[in-house]
Amino acid sequence: MIKSIIKYIKEVLGGLKSLLKGMRVTGYYISHPKEIITQQYPENKDTLKMFDRFRGEVILLHDENNEHRCTGCTACEVACPNGSIEIISERVLNPETGKKKKEIDKFIYHLSMCTMCNLCIESCPTDAIKMGRNFEHAVFDRSLLTSVLNRPGSKLAPGVED
């Protein structure tokens, strides 16, 4: 009898304690307005910085000599589950060695089909591509979503294939 009464009181006090714990968490949020996560998007366009892990689009990296690291191995094309990447390559004669070598002609990327799954970046053996942070992709024509990623006149950076 006494035991059950003590248990009852303990239950009530324990319940109150757990409720107060919850209120402490939300009380912390309301008293710290700096913790607010929401962004006022179009207004803060100039200062907006997307976080590092954000996946916006696939980009092919170029250095200052207009050289990229893509060997045209098509590992990304194979890895892509929905066929967003198409690599058109050609065999070019190397004047120094006299041998024909594979080089990419066009690295075609269909943004409209991409789900930003990151599998292409993981499969790339030479780290030629990575995820960009741009997310403003809205266009009026669907064909504008298909783009060629390698810049005109760009070459394979030396030493990538060694």
Binding site: L19, T26, Y29, T38, Q40
Partner: protein, 362 residues
Amino acid sequence: MKFDIYDFSVLTKSIHESLNSMMGETAVMISEMVIVGIIFLTLFAVLGLILVYVERKICAFFQQRLGPMRVGFWGTAQTLADLIKLLLKEPLITKNADKFLFNLAPFVLIIASFMAMAAIPFAKGLHAFDIDIGVFYITAISSIGVVGVLLAGWASNNKYSLIGAMRSGAQIISYELSVGLSLLTIIVLTGSLQFSEIIESQREGWWIFRGHIPALIAFIIFLIASTAETNRGPFDLAEAESELTAGFHTEYSGMKFAFFFLAEFINMFIVAAIGATVFLGGWMPLHFGALESFNAIMDFIPPIFWFFGKTAFIIFLMMWFKWTFPRLRIDQLLTLEWKYLLPINLINILVMAFFVLMGWYF
């Protein structure tokens, strides 16, 4: 007398006399009623607009969001825009609904909260209906609101509405008991049911301080039970979105829906006002016995600000509850009332009576 500067009865008396000099007795009574009615209608609209905005903002801040920000400065005109939208919406009535009861239900609900509002003392002399059984009157009137909810659920001819209404009925009828008993705990101290006398008895200090432990327990129980009585979260079973779409007001649209929405917020205000009046001294300023200069400074703040400040504090607490606690199931809800709040309340009222008998309060 300390509060003479802020005494509204001078103003009301002068209005009464000037009206008396203009027209006959019956005409004076009618015109005064019209004036009070218009004031309350305005108060209703303004309170509704402000409370909806505050609720949305506070909810957002509790959840680390910003809330409405687009319409007006910091979204202040958002509720006005919503009101215009609701006014322009088509008032749909479903084919199999009982048209008369369907249209009547929102008015029953809003009239109940309108009548309850009349007995609330806003400041000294600013009191529409100072009846000598004020607390009893308010508890009686506010339980009429459940009739509106039940009518809405029944007349909609919709299973969600009916289930929601029945839940709401069970909930309000159960929690009415706890609200009444927790108020009675303080009535034991005041010895009067009249609101003006309850406030007058707190001139030396608010009952929540003077009644110490039992008063504090009563206050907590009052907060829980009144949150449940106004059908607010975590007790919002009547309109449980996840399982009942919108509960008893599923079939309502446009202005009639707005009435339900408004009634919920006005009921929250009324409940908070009663809590502020009974536990926190209504429009009485904060006084500590010995500190004369502190008391004088507190007297300087007009009573109407004290009243609205205390009410806002309790409303804030209720919003804090709503946006923190997880929702209860219907069986948990009734267990909480009948197995916890009611027995604790009954023992608490006995303890309080004993304390009053022995004079163990300040």
